[in-house]
Symmetry: C2
Subunit: 587 residues, 2 copies
């Protein structure tokens, strides 16, 4: 039963479901439905798919997330970055508009969903942690720029094609002369209205006396208003006859349950893109879920979220949809409107189903420029150049990874950008740990503490070299440490004892163990004893399983003070009992 | 001048060169030449090349190493593993025996040489450290098995083909019925003699009264003796007429200076194999050089060694040779015979040149089975299954990387094996650091020290949660640490203060900084203050460049004791002044 409850969170919250909660969730669902309609349509177009596929992807996934999800506020569905990645993954495989293209999008959702479920069952959620914050931030910024640039085409009524930001900008520059004035008027009108409703409407409503929550929610339905107004304008003025592209006939009715094409060759080609979409989608989604849950002290289970997202994507695939994940904007609306349980999401799915059943004829005159404007406004809020500045101030390595992610994404595309970002951030970490900080330490008079001789006024013994390594000892740095010890010993002919102080050594791997053995042997050949101090419990447990401790010419001491005192007790004690020198004594 | 001396070590040792050193180096050169002849011929065949290419690769590279090298004992030339990797790299590009095959081998030496020089000038020697000891050991063992299996074909007089161990064994099993009895007699005769001379000859000579050094050196020329004896036998008995394959006509004369084919498409295909050969060759070579140098307290400069090996390979390419590196066996002979300067290597090159000029007709009746036997005996000494046992005892992660390297190399080939090994060892390291050890700590009575509550009898305060993280805080573990702190706080409703003790935190990257900010914010929302203690100097310097310290609800304390004392001074002092409990007091 507890296992069933773990994998089916609906059993937990469903048991406590009440009439009041129902009313509340229903109101939330109406608001989110109104917000979700333009997004569903727009992101389907962004992915290169017919608009109704966006509506399909906003039904089954929401129902399934309500059953499997642990977040009470997360709203799943089509999102900008995953839609862009879908287009990037499928474009090389099939011509846009063909049945093969749609089939590949559906297969992508299925493969991604199965991967997410497998990762959840195998508790592989930690894989998402290999995407560092700067890489995710850089990737989202670059994707936002690429999406916005791509949507300028429909806003202007020109074709802007290309698979990367650079290609799209090039294409825009070439085609800009063919701008359709009517389309541009509708598009920029929608853009201006959306910017205004996003930034100015809420303060206006607040001044008009509305509550914070109501004003915020009304401001968020701007896209739906833009959609209605521009549709009416296009219909009334007959702008379709003046070259304004409209959505046209949208097939009515609910999606049919269908299996995506079983094509092993296709699925194999989709493995890498599906993995990247899964991980990026999961990272976006879990960040939103954790942030919203923390505000109300609710719990979100990261591994169960993988299963819930996976089920949502499998659901999307089986009902003719494309990859979905938890979206930031609509989850915040969900949360602020007061969603109390995942049932709000299920009711939203019903709302979308009603639209699909009865309102699609109203979409006939909807201009594509409006949908493009909706996307531009939504994605430009993802672009965060401020993060570049903060990251530069704090860490040059993280800044390098971020810039590389942005540039490669803009020039080479989303998959290359993400892979280079992850690879570079891992490499830069390994590089940093491959040249660890090694300090020569001495005893602070009046204490049993040892500190860096370069930073403090300390007492040292010309026969004893005490070194502190500020890093775990493992293969990328084992030879570096060997070299530094060899050099230090070669530079001081009086040395008879070397002590390695290990308070920051969290692990010693096989390569480092062999290096320690080599150091011990070489020092022994030179008549120098080798000691360790402050070795941590788990590290010591492991060293005991090797021959190293038998071969070690010196001893392993509990503290650096004990190590020094075992060699020169007189000096160690005299220094300990001396008067303490103020920290600033060193010139 | 000092820059010139750095890049041309010959200027340093050349200035002190004396007549006595000359005589000594000359004697060493004679011994190494005798040893190098069979190896050069055999490894050329192993790489799928004509035997004289092996001789060519043993002239210019040795001269150039003498100019640029910093090791006084390292002997460069064709080696087993690099020859195998050469064959693996070129086999997909050209048919063995064709001029294109030879051209590709020469181009491979050139690309590898240029890479090594570039790595040396850019001081990228640390890249070699990303090959952990278990991966190198596993790779060498698997390569040794593959080479030995492949040479069983010539020893038996059958064709054993394949690019992996598995394919070769399969091919051997199929062809074994076609064994040529005469060839097998010569081959197994040579094998038996070589094993005997390697394991039994030296003790015999020692008992006969020879010195350790002379006996060791004589035992090492066994392959040359086997070569002479089997050549005479094959000639005298006319075994070539009975199906024993012989080397046949070897073109006389020195190699001509020539540029390898300038073919960008070919060079591009050779980039990855050249990088792998360069790094593996460098790792082998530098290990040998460092070990021998340490025995006589000489210095080896790892970055200059890259340049020297690079120059050697460029030299090999320009004189029609194939990739070379420093070989273990012949360097040890060089060292034990008493090589005093790299001039010994230059004299060896002259020796090989004399052989190429005058003695190639003597190689006509040399049976290929003898050369194959030479290789089998040499490479089986590289196979080290004992390392599997030691690694298993010490570290399961390193054992997994080693086994994966061996299996993938045997099944998929050398390049795949090496790449999987490196990738897996990096992944396993990241995985380990992504779930660091986090201890709840308390104060040891009678001290100001804090230790794990699970291991020691310590005093804690129900309002204070003190946690020690035994790892740097960075992207793979930042969310894990967030989760653990959230859980720990959720589990103890009495907590008002959380202190993170950081003596083992060597770095905090941007992702971890954002996690710390999130932790601080969530604790603040719950009315809990967040403190840090024992933050290292470099980490603190960096934190000061962010906004975190302004937002932190608590303080950063110099020691864990001061942190606790700032919250509950009375308890901290009472515990410090209490009687110390023996370490074993905890039940």
């Amino acid at each position: 039963m507890s296992l069933l409850r773990r994998y089916l969170p609906i059993l937990t919250w469903g048991a406590e479901y009440s009439g009041k909660t129902f009313t509340n969730d229903l109101i939330v669902a109406v608001i989110v439905t109104v917000m979700l309609i333009p997004q569903s349509l727009a992101y389907a177009l962004l992915a290169g798919l017919p608009v109704q596929v966006g509506l399909f992807a906003s039904m089954a996934p929401l129902l399934l997330y309500a059953v499997f999800g642990t977040s009470r506020a997360l709203a799943v569905g089509p999102v900008a970055v995953a839609s862009l990645m879908t287009a990037a993954a499928i474009a090389p495989l099939a011509a846009q508009g063909s049945p093969e293209y749609l089939g590949a999008a559906i297969a992508l959702a299925l493969v991604s969903g199965l991967m997410l479920i497998a990762m959840g069952l195998l508790r592989l959620g930690f894989l998402a942690n290999f995407l560092s914050h700067p890489v995710v931030s850089g990737f989202i910024t670059a994707s936002g720029l690429q999406i916005a640039a791509g949507q300028l085409g429909p806003v202007l009524g020109i074709r802007a094609e290309g698979e990367t930001f650079v290609e799209i900008v090039h294409s825009l520059a070439k085609e800009i002369g063919g701008t359709n004035a009517w389309t541009a008027a509708v598009g920029f009108g929608a853009l201006a209205f959306l910017y205004w409703s996003r930034s100015r409407l809420k303060p206006l409503l607040l001044r008009a006396g509305l509550s914070e929550r109501v004003a915020g929610t009304i401001a968020k339905v701007g896209p739906a208003v833009a959609l209605v107004v521009t549709t009416v304008v296009v219909w009334a003025l007959g702008l379709a006859g003046h070259g304004v592209k409209i959505v046209g006939e949208v097939p009515k009715g609910l999606p049919r349950l269908a299996l995506p094409p079983f094509d092993v060759a296709l699925w194999t080609k989709l493995l890498v893109p599906a993995l990247l979409i899964s991980i990026i989608g999961y990272v976006e989604s879990i960040s939103v879920a954790l942030t919203l849950a923390a505000k109300r002290r609710q719990r979100v289970d990261p591994d169960q979220e993988l299963i819930a997202l996976g089920a949502s994507n499998v659901g999307a695939a089986l009902s003719g949809g494309f990859p979905v994940t938890g979206g930031l904007a609509r989850s915040v609306v969900n949360y602020e409107a007061g969603a109390e349980t995942p049932a709000a999401g299920a009711f939203t799915a019903v709302g979308i189903a009603l639209v699909t059943l009865f309102l699609t004829p109203l979409l006939f005159f909807l201009p594509k420029a409006t949908l493009a404007a909706t996307i531009v406004v939504a994605v430009l809020s993802l672009v965060d150049f401020g993060a570049l500045k903060h990251t530069w101030d704090y860490s040059r390595a993280d800044f390098a990874a971020m810039v590389a992610t942005i540039l490669v994404t803009l020039v080479e595309g989303v998959e290359a950008g993400l892979l280079v970002g992850v690879g570079l951030s891992i490499f830069l970490h390994l590089y940093a740990t491959s040249r660890p900080h090694i300090a020569v330490v001495g005893q602070i008079p009046g204490t049993t503490s040892f500190r860096n001789v370069a930073r403090h006024a300390v007492v040292t013994d010309s026969e004893i070299l005490s070194l502190r390594v500020d890093e775990s000892l493992y293969f990328p740095n084992s030879r570096y440490i060997e070299d530094r010890i060899n050099e230090a010993v070669a530079a001081s002919p009086t040395i008879r004892h070397v002590i390695l102080e290990c308070p920051a050594v969290n692990a010693i791997d096989t390569s480092a163990l062999e290096s320690l053995e080599a150091i011990n042997q070489r020092l022994k050949d030179g008549g120098i004893t080798f000691h360790l101090s402050e070795v941590k419990g788990p590290v010591m447990d492991r060293l005991k399983r090797s021959h190293f401790l038998h071969e070690l010419t010196g001893n392993v001491h509990l503290s650096q003070y004990e190590a020094v005192a075992s060699i020169n007790p007189e000096l160690a004690r005299r220094t300990r009992d001396a008067e303490r020198v103020p920290a600033s004594a060193k010139p």
